[in-house]
Every structure is written in structure tokens, then in C-alpha cells.
Symmetry: C2
DNA sequence: CTGAAAGCGCTTACAG
DNA sequence: CTGAAAGCGCTTACAG
């Protein structure tokens, strides 16, 4: 079937293509009757505007991007989907770009910006470490989700996150409150600006405040995957069996760790209490269910889109901190010697 | 910073923009030295082609789409990510469109096609029921992944899937082989062309062949979410406690069901053997680990992209069936009266 | 092998 | 309120 262009609509409606364009773009300076006539023809001909042509001419395109760091991070991919979903309902289209842990989010954004004339970008799980200055040269509204980015000067930058440090601290405070003293830690530090590192620093801070020395042999590095978490927990178990609690920097890590604990003949929570973080749906379906601090995914997604749109309208960026509520599961209990 | 266009490159390299365009598009009819000179300027100026302009003029764009039906289906979203990843490595960009179960995948594809001048489309989990004829009017290479679509006439249609019917049958064959006779079924039928329905029909076929009457009170409908699977299992449990096995149409459903079984005081596999389907990574990390038939996600993703590219080059579509290997987990055992 | 010119389908000042 | 014209940044016949 032949493709219907704006010219066909103009001819059929007996107006100029300028007028059709005005109607299409909801310009106010069109006669109501003319508008109605054009709209009827659009309907009749089932005209769909060629976005490539529109984007070529327009200053801003209808494209925004979501740059997702780490394709294996379940929480982030879920977040990306939510953002896509919210975008769709608001008529905003997101290109999604999944990059490896080692890839460069700044380069990705810049290329996308040049190639597609992006009008905005949401970063999920980026660490920004080395790119503070680079970003400031990019003339593009950016939102950093799940990571606090107040340190980015520039009015087009926003961020939405929970306070990762405080949450890590709260998790370990809670375990200590239950009587635990030997607490294993699973995760990775990464750059200081990284959300996951902050969780661990918060955990350490809690230990310090309670006068518990940080014990390296109770920590093992792992990333956001089940096998890596399983291996990490196994490594700790090969060194120590005397810990009674575990704080994992994410639910996924906690899942892998719980499996390792059970495979090694330990029971959760009888032998080891476990707290995760993220508040994934799956946390309620493990056996036992996992106690976790929730990152409010829905709020983060909604707020990200809202902040992006605000910045695109020229409003000044904001840095939003959301609470991370505790969700009680069956994976923790009081420690008794 | 000013945006560098093809004109800037042409001027700097002292050639016409036609020549720059030829170099950019890897046309053979360019002098080697000229090509080298242009490429050096491209590098120097950090020129990035404006994709909107290129796509406007070209017959085919560099956009393909992935239309994902059902945003809560973990297996499909994982598949989508893999496709994005493979596409990226091959310089192909995918727009991703997540639609609801009740949305119309044909309309989605058609609008995308008109709006963006798509050059191809991969459908994940679509059922096609009412759209066989519509699709044949769409002049767009299409690949249907996870669903068998041989019935689609037209040379630009391909599909990649496991044999869902046979796999459902194999799962129940296996349970019966272990001595189980009262087998619960969890999932939903949907349209006949649907992959999940086929799994259940296969399961029924197995029962029939073994002379076991299909018992409706052992079936409950649920979708691909944990809460729904949990509720479904709970509903079955409210009616019957005498079954010794469960076939769930997907791992996610199995996870939700196992949790429900355990919450109701039953043990897996002591009281109930469970088999899922999909072969998700998580299946190996539940307690006990889940026996499942794997849909080879990596192969499906690779093959989907390969078939799409072949169709875009004008090759005739193919319908590929992949094997679904059994992965042994701890969730099944021999039934003893 | 290379360049000048037309045109892809829109939007946007500029006139009226 | 409306239209004619220029132009967005490319690609692609058409000449040479």
C-alpha cells in the first residue's frame, strides 16, 4: 500500500501542507473548522507522520534514551521497563541502550545525542566517576536514576535515588539490633559515587558505631548475578562458618547467597539471618521470604520521567531522595548464642 | 558545541558531500586515497551522521523493532535484552515496544512501520490469532520468536520456537514415568496458536495416552506472574490435596506455585514433584532447584536476528524449531504410594 | 572515480 | 488564519 504523506492529506483537505502541519502540531493559530476538516482527512487516510522527517527539521526530536548499565541487573532492567511504559503512556519514546559494566556511559550518550538528536537521557546505575566534567559539556537534559548525583553542577542534571549509604547502615543496624555481631557482607565497592559502594560503606559505618571491627574475611566481592553471588558466599563459607548474619547489597545477591548457604547445610534464618536490598517482587517468593529494603521502583521510574520532562522544558534540575522502606521477610531472626 | 555535518566534513576534506556520503556508506566506487582522507577528517571532526536525515532519504532505515507482549514475562524480557545486545554488536538498532496482553501487536507494528519506516520487526510472545491476514498486507520482514508460525503464508515471515506441544507432553510423560498419576496443571490456554496453550494441550495429550482422564479440578488458570501463580496453586489446594505432581507452563509460574505449596505445609519434592518450563537461570537457585525444560534463549535470540536480517536481504522466511532440553533439578522424585 | 542537483517529508519563519 | 518557499542533513540517480 502506498504511503500517505502530509501532501496527500493537504490535497484531500484542500489546504496547504503548512496548515496540515499546524494541525498536526496542535498549533493554536488554525481555524476550528479547518482543523476539523484536516483531522477528518487524517483519520480517513490513516495518515501517520514520518517521524524521521519531523525529527530532521525540528530542533528537538521525540527521542529520549535510557542508558542501562549492566544487563544482568534485574532491578535495573525492571526499572527500564517501567520507564518505557510510563514514556509510552505519555507519548514519549525511549531508545534503550544496554551497556556493559566496563563501557563508557558518557560516550554512549554523546554518540546517541549526535546520531539521533536526543532530547533527553535517563541513566540507570551509572557511576559517573570519571565523567563529571564531560557531562557538563553535554548540552542534554540528563536524569541519573538510582544514584545520587548532587555533585553534578549544571541546571540540566537531576537524580532520583534512595539514600544508599543510610540504607546500608540501617540494614546492619537492624541485624545488630537482633543481636548479631559477626555479619558477612556481599557486594562490591566500585567508585565512591556508585550506589552499591555506598551501601557497603553504610554497612561499615554501622559496624563502627557499634564498636564491631570490620572483618575482611567476612566480605567477598560479587556482582549482580546469581552465580557470582553464589560463588561469593561459597568463598566466605570456605573461610568462616561462625557468622550469624549476612547483608547482601541486592536481592539478587541475597538469592544466590541463600542458595549457597542452604547447599552448605546451613539454614536461613536459623543459622544465618539474611537481609537484601531492592525490594524485588521475587523477595516475597523465596523460601524463606527475604527481608529487604525496597527501592521504590515505580516512584523512581515516574520521578525520572517527570524530572526529564521538566528539564526538557527548561526547568532547573533537582536531586530527589526517596525513602527505602523495610520489608519484613522470614529470613531474619534474633541471634541467640 | 556546534554540530558537525556532512558539509563540514566535505569542506575540510576538499571533496563533495556526495563523496563523503559514499565513503560513509562503504560504497566501492571511491578512490582509496580519497577514502582515507575523508575518514581522517571524520575522525578529526568526530563527525557522527544524523540518523534522522539518513533514514529520511533511504528506503530502509536502520531501525528494527522488538514488540514484546506482556511486560511481566521474565523470560521474554530477558530474550528482548539478548536481542538488543546482539543487535548492538551488529550495528542494528532495535526500538523496543512493550505491549499489554490485550493490546494489538499488528496495530503496534503497523504504526511503528509508518512512523519510523521500520525495516523489520521481531515479535516476542505474540499469538497472532486474529491477524493472519492483516500481517500478510504488511510489507515488512517479521520474525515471531517463541511461537510457531508456519501457518503464516508470505515469504517475509519467519519464526523460531521450541515445539511447545511436544515439550508439554514430554514434561507430563516424565512425571507419569516417575509414577505420578494425579498431576496438577497451572497456566493458561489462550488462542490455539499461543505457545502456552500448546504446552497445556501437550500435557493433556500425555495424560490421554496414558489413560489418565483429564481432571479439571486439578487445573487452574494463571498468567506469568508470581502472585497469579501463587493464587492459582492456592486455588487448586483449596479443592484437592491428593495430587503428587505439578506441571507449570513456565518457571515463573513454578516459582509462585512452589512457594504456595510450601506455605501450605507441603514439601517439594517429597509431597509434590514440580516441573517448570523455560530454563531460566533462577530455576537453579530455588530451594529445591527446579526441574525444567529449557527454551534456549540465546539460540532463539541469535536465530531471530539472523532470520530478520536474511529476510531484509530478500531471502525467504524460514520456520525454525529448536530442541528444549530437560534440565534436572531437585524438584521431582519418584512417586511412592 | 567525482560533483551538481534533486528530493526524502516534514517544519518554520515570512508575507499577506 | 493561511500559503509559498526555504531548508533540516542526508542519499541517489545522472552526467561527466
Amino acid at each position: 500500500m502506498r504511503i500517505v504523506t502530509i501532501r496527500d492529506v493537504a490535497k484531500e483537505a484542500q489546504v496547504s501542507i503548512s496548515t496540515v502541519s499546524r494541525v498536526l502540531n496542535d498549533r493554536p493559530d488554525v481555524d476550528a473548522l479547518t482543523r476539523a476538516r484536516v483531522l477528518k482527512v487524517v483519520e480517513k487516510l490513516q495518515y501517520v507522520r514520518n517521524a524521521n522527517a519531523a525529527n530532521l527539521k525540528q530542533q528537538h526530536t521525540d527521542f529520549s534514551a535510557v542508558v542501562l548499565r549492566g544487563r544482568r541487573n534485574l532491578f535495573l532492567t525492571d526499572l527500564a521497563e517501567r520507564i518505557l511504559d510510563i514514556g509510552r503512556r505519555r507519548g514519549r519514546r525511549f531508545l534503550i541502550e544496554i551497556i556493559d559494566e566496563k563501557d563508557d556511559e558518557f560516550e554512549t550518550a554523546r554518540t546517541l545525542y549526535r546520531e539521533r538528536k536526543l532530547s533527553g537521557c535517563i541513566f540507570l546505575g551509572s557511576n559517573l566517576q570519571q565523567h563529571v566534567h564531560d557531562f557538563e559539556t553535554l548540552d542534554l537534559p540528563c536524569v541519573f536514576a538510582t544514584v545520587q548525583a548532587e555533585f553534578l553542577a549544571g541546571r540540566q542534571f537531576s537524580s532520583v535515588a534512595v539514600n544508599n549509604f543510610d540504607t546500608g547502615k540501617a540494614a546492619v543496624d537492624r541485624l545488630i539490633g537482633l543481636g548479631h555481631r559477626r555479619i558477612a557482607l556481599l557486594g562490591f565497592y566500585g567508585p565512591v559515587t556508585n550506589s552499591t559502594g555506598q551501601r557497603l560503606y553504610g554497612a561499615q559505618e554501622s559496624l563502627r558505631r557499634h564498636g564491631i571491627p570490620y572483618d575482611e574475611s567476612l566480605f567477598e566481592e560479587c556482582d549482580f548475578t546469581l552465580p557470582s553471588a553464589y560463588a561469593g558466599m561459597t568463598a566466605v563459607l570456605s573461610r568462616r562458618r561462625d557468622f550469624s548474619a549476612l547483608f547482601a547489597i541486592s536481592d539478587i545477591v541475597a538469592f544466590g547467597a541463600m542458595k549457597a548457604l542452604i547447599d552448605h547445610g546451613l539454614s536461613v534464618p536459623r543459622d544465618v539471618s539474611v537481609i537484601g536490598m531492592d525490594g524485588t517482587e521475587q523477595a516475597a517468593y523465596t523460601v524463606p521470604s527475604l527481608s529487604t529494603y525496597a527501592q521504590p521502583a515505580d516512584d523512581i521510574a515516574t520521578e525520572s520521567v517527570r524530572l526529564l520532562e521538566a528539564a526538557m522544558r527548561g526547568q532547573k534540575g533537582k536531586h530527589v531522595l526517596l525513602p527505602a522502606p523495610f520489608i519484613q521477610g522470614g529470613s531474619i531472626k534474633k541471634h541467640v548464642e
